[in-house]
């Protein structure tokens, strides 16, 4: 492993599209999991945001323990 040719890869060659896509999806998932609640989403989603409250309630303990702001 010491002379791994990859060790000299430049910074400039960025992530491929195939990596960005799942990354973006995962970040959105994380946000929904940690912060979605009816109160927060109702300006965007209207009535449909109420469904997020169920997720909010069930996720409540975890959110607090992971230090995410919550009511």
């Amino acid at each position: 492993m010491g002379n791994d040719p990859l060790a000299q890869r430049p910074l400039s060659s960025g992530l491929s599209l195939g990596s960005w896509l799942p990354l973006a999806v995962l970040v959105v998932m994380l946000f929904v999991l940690l912060s979605a609640s009816g109160a927060l989403l109702s300006p965007v989603l209207g009535q449909a945001a109420g469904a997020a409250d169920y997720l909010h309630e069930i996720a409540h303990d975890g959110r607090h323990l992971l230090a995410v702001p919550c009511h």
């Binding site: 040719p5 990859l6 890869r9 995962l26 999991l33 309630e57 975890g62 607090h64 230090a67 702001p69």
Partner: protein, 234 residues
């Protein structure tokens, strides 16, 4: 080069599907033990309309910790595949531990010092929307600060700057960036009349949960990389 990249991606996928469930159970147990302790005595903790009762919420904690682990594990896998060829250390074990420490610092530790975790009884002065925006701004900027510090360290290394000088200047830069964030972002919500001892216990539990999670992720991922590498000749 391709083999190395594939090994990195394979290890990422392997950790994502096989490592995470094992990891999550351990974390969830830890979190449940500490979480119940933090919540049980919270005075004035009442929901306006409890959709799920306490046992269901505790079950939800396991669910959320599991989902959180899988999601963060996936993100980590992708990032690891990117950083694998760009980190100076010579083994995936060390790289895995380095990257998890960096992410722990940027995504949790620095924001935690500015906006510490609050148990459910505490209500901030600002609305939840504002607090959420402030918190995620802090997370994003902290991650950016850590990333910048790493890039600066890499540049200084390439220029042949002495190691102590490099470490000191990068550390100082990161400290200054964190200080700037502390001053510039809105103040943390006031916990009001919440008992200080209980608040401290809860924050400690929160810190412990995150520490266990990131340490577990780094260790399991590192071990799995070792296993994957021994199977794939690089």
């Amino acid at each position: 080069m391709a083999a190395g990249l594939i090994a990195g991606l394979l290890a990422g996928g392997f950790a994502f599907f096989v490592g995470e469930p094992v990891l999550d159970r351990a974390i969830a147990l830890e979190a449940a033990a500490s979480g119940v302790h933090g919540h049980a005595g919270a005075p004035g903790h009442q929901h306006e309309a409890p959709v799920f009762d306490r046992p269901a919420q505790k079950l939800g904690l396991f669910l959320v910790m599991g989902l959180f682990g899988v999601t963060v594990g996936g993100i980590f896998g992708v990032l690891f595949a990117y950083f694998r060829g760009r980190l100076a250390s010579d083994s995936d074990w060390v790289r895995s531990l380095c990257l998890t420490s960096c992410m722990f610092t940027g995504a949790f530790l620095i924001p935690f010092v500015k906006y510490p975790a609050n148990p459910p009884g505490v209500r901030g002065a600002a609305a939840i929307g504002e607090r959420t925006v402030a918190y995620y701004s802090m997370v994003a900027l902290s991650l950016l600060a850590v990333l910048t510090a790493w890039m600066a360290a890499r540049m200084l290394r390439e220029r042949g700057v002495k190691t102590p000088v490099r470490h000191l200047s990068v550390g100082l830069g990161l400290a200054l960036a964190s200080a700037a964030l502390f001053v510039l972002l809105p103040a943390a919500p006031d916990p009001g009349g919440f008992p200080a001892g209980l608040l401290w216990d809860f924050r400690l539990a929160s810190l412990g949960t995150q520490l266990v999670f990131w340490a577990g992720l780094g260790v399991v991922f590192g071990l799995l990389c070792g296993r994957a590498n021994s199977g794939v000749s690089v």
